[in-house]
Symmetry: C2
């Protein structure tokens, strides 16, 4: 008889979102459940040309083993760019990962023993929560208001959990809520990290996709002492299929992360790193980002104005200033899971909010909607179906 | 004060090979220390053309998020190919990983608790040993003779370690020794796995690179009960920079592995998976492999005949029938580490054998030599230097 799975993964379930996405295999279902960037945002022609250049000029570099730390020109570009934004300390380093997801997973691996605590926003990004769970870590969620995590509760959570190793946060246009943490809260979070001796893992996949309001400095920018481990990604600003992300933070921590990466993927696909580097070097990246912001601003406004017109007033919606997601909250008397299930029968897929709970058994009255993947027509049509369903089902 | 690293990685050191490779940054050093495929073995023109085709025909598929299990056409090709070789059971599945290294690491993650045991050949591939160590697993090495692991010792090791979860083996042209496990030993290993209720993780990156002797069936082929988890790789037969490997085995185990991959890299670079699939479909893969075997046969013979001419008889050498490595054993009275250190001063880099020991503090009298990366001229020159050094230093 073969023995069972390790304790760390025995309870780990496939992402609830993946289950929802099964419904979306039906082409008549309009999916507000994904988190994919808009395909029209991919600079196909440029990437195609750059790929041809790479094969013409340095094919062996694109095909041979490379170093675990990542492609040196890309790392140097990132170091210079982060330095320009005051996000790179003299004792920092940058390494490339296979998506920010791998950076997040590797940080948990190198910092946390089983039974240790990670403090996170509640709700938080399910991919990160599952990465943490896969190391047998205990998740402690801190509730948010419109300004981000509630700091009194963060302080209390840190005080109550001396084995906490880090605070995990997406401060810009958070997944799933679309909320942005205010500057004041970011400063307070950093002070609390110092007070309790924990790192902050700042995950910023959507930061460049601000289409309203004013930029807020990253927590990394506020940190001169090496408390922040910053995770960046090219998935939302270039293309997610490339799987190129990065980790910036204290050199000593990153040296251990490199040992971790050596044992998992050895290095990130090198062609994808070269594509990313040449794109950054050859293209006006700010102009490219401006184009993306225009696309997402339009899609967000289209969905949000539709929702406001179609949904009953008692459904509360967040007003994201960037990113890919809108978060809806039902009054407590309604059964959110039942609502999502009935809506998907009517061919619109939503993600039930409990997928994002630190405590998977907690009751949620919220659901997540994505505006980047559906077409304009799908947004308009899906919002109408959702409005009709809400009026009929929520009485 | 920030807290220390997790126990699982605290003792984990950067690969000893990486340290050796630092010497090889000096262009005057001839490296027999790497494990890179020969760059002349990369089908650059074909990959370049396929990449252009992908961007012309289906660029969005190559850039968008994809499913964690891997690119379906590539998985289907592999399933059919493995079935043809009697290596695919009805209840098996195949998933794509970022190199076989990620398959190996993921298997350890989903099967082993900290403190559990993994049984391995001693010596064994350092990348796998470090992946296992990174999950706090205890490694128990089983000595090898020329036919593979010694079965009486494997049986005893399994009996003495009831928390053993699997046996890890590279049965073909093993890294580091170049040894091939005989069919009889493979059958015995499978029987012992069944007797003790453990999996066999069969790692076969070099199997297609046989240039002498006769093929031996994979352990996977002998197994009708789901004991074998088979790790394959395109690193040595196509290009390692792609980072495309796979895992074939019981569907239930692979479903859990998919959950593990979701939390680490989400999915393997999709362009690389499409390149691999189209290459397999469009090119005569057997003819391509025949070309690679010709390259490696030549390089192995060149190195081996040179070593036999130049080295003192008391240095024992393995005679690999495939793969990338030759293994040398010094008489016990000599200090192998001292010899390797002095040889690298003379501009030839070797890998000291203790890098591959399950017990890192064990004394080794062996060193590993690679014949795939150096040019013919470097092989000839390096072997001469090595011979001169041996005659002068080993008295």
């Amino acid at each position: 008889m073969l023995k069972p799975f390790s304790d760390r993964v025995s309870g780990l379930q496939p992402s609830a979102i993946r289950e929802i996405l099964k419904f979306t295999a039906d082409p008549t279902v309009i999916s507000f459940a994904a988190g994919n960037p808009a395909p029209e945002a991919f600079p196909v022609d440029v990437i195609s040309k750059i790929s041809a250049d790479i094969f013409a000029e340095e094919p062996i570099n694109a095909l041979q083993y490379s170093i675990t730390e990542g492609y040196t020109p890309l790392r140097d570009w990132l170091k210079a760019d982060l330095a320009k934004k005051s996000m790179f300390r003299d004792s920092d380093n940058v390494i490339i990962t296979s998506g920010a997801q791998q950076a997040i997973e590797t940080v948990a691996k190198i910092l946390c023993n089983e039974g240790d605590v990670i403090i996170c926003e509640d709700p938080a990004f399910i991919g990160s929560l599952n990465a943490f769970r896969s190391y047998g870590v205990k998740l402690v969620g801190v509730p948010m208001d419109d300004d981000g995590m509630i700091m009194e509760q963060l302080d209390a959570a840190l005080a109550a959990n001396p084995t906490a190793k880090f605070i995990y946060t997406i401060p810009n246009f958070q997944n799933p809520t679309g909320k942005t943490t205010t500057l004041e809260r970011r400063k307070q979070m950093l002070e609390l990290a110092k007070k309790h001796g924990v790192y902050i893992v700042e995950d910023n996949p959507y930061g460049a996709l601000r289409f309203a309001g004013k930029d807020v400095p990253c927590i990394k920018e506020l940190d001169s002492d090496g408390y922040v481990l910053y995770c960046g990604s090219f998935s939302k600003v270039l293309a997610p299929g490339l799987r190129v992300g990065y980790l910036c933070g204290d050199s000593e921590v990153l040296a251990k992360a490199v040992v971790g990466l050596q044992t998992s993927t050895v290095h990130t696909n090198i062609w994808a790193q070269m594509i990313t580097y040449r794109f950054l070097k050859e293209v006006d990246f700010d102009a490219h980002l401006a184009k993306l912001r225009t696309i997402y601003k339009h899609k967000c406004e289209l969905m949000l104005s539709g929702l406001k017109a179609e949904l009953p007033d008692f459904i509360k919606l967040t007003q994201p200033e960037g990113g890919l997601f809108i978060w809806a909250t039902l009054p407590e008397k309604y059964d959110m899971n039942k609502f999502c299930t009935e809506v998907v029968q009517r061919k619109v897929a939503l993600v039930p909010g409990n997928a994002f709970s630190a405590d998977e058994s907690a009751v949620s009255h919220c659901f997540r909607m994505n505006f980047s993947t559906p077409t304009d027509e799908q947004i308009t049509e899906g919002v109408k179906i959702l409005g009709k369903a809400a009026k009929e089902l929520l009485k």
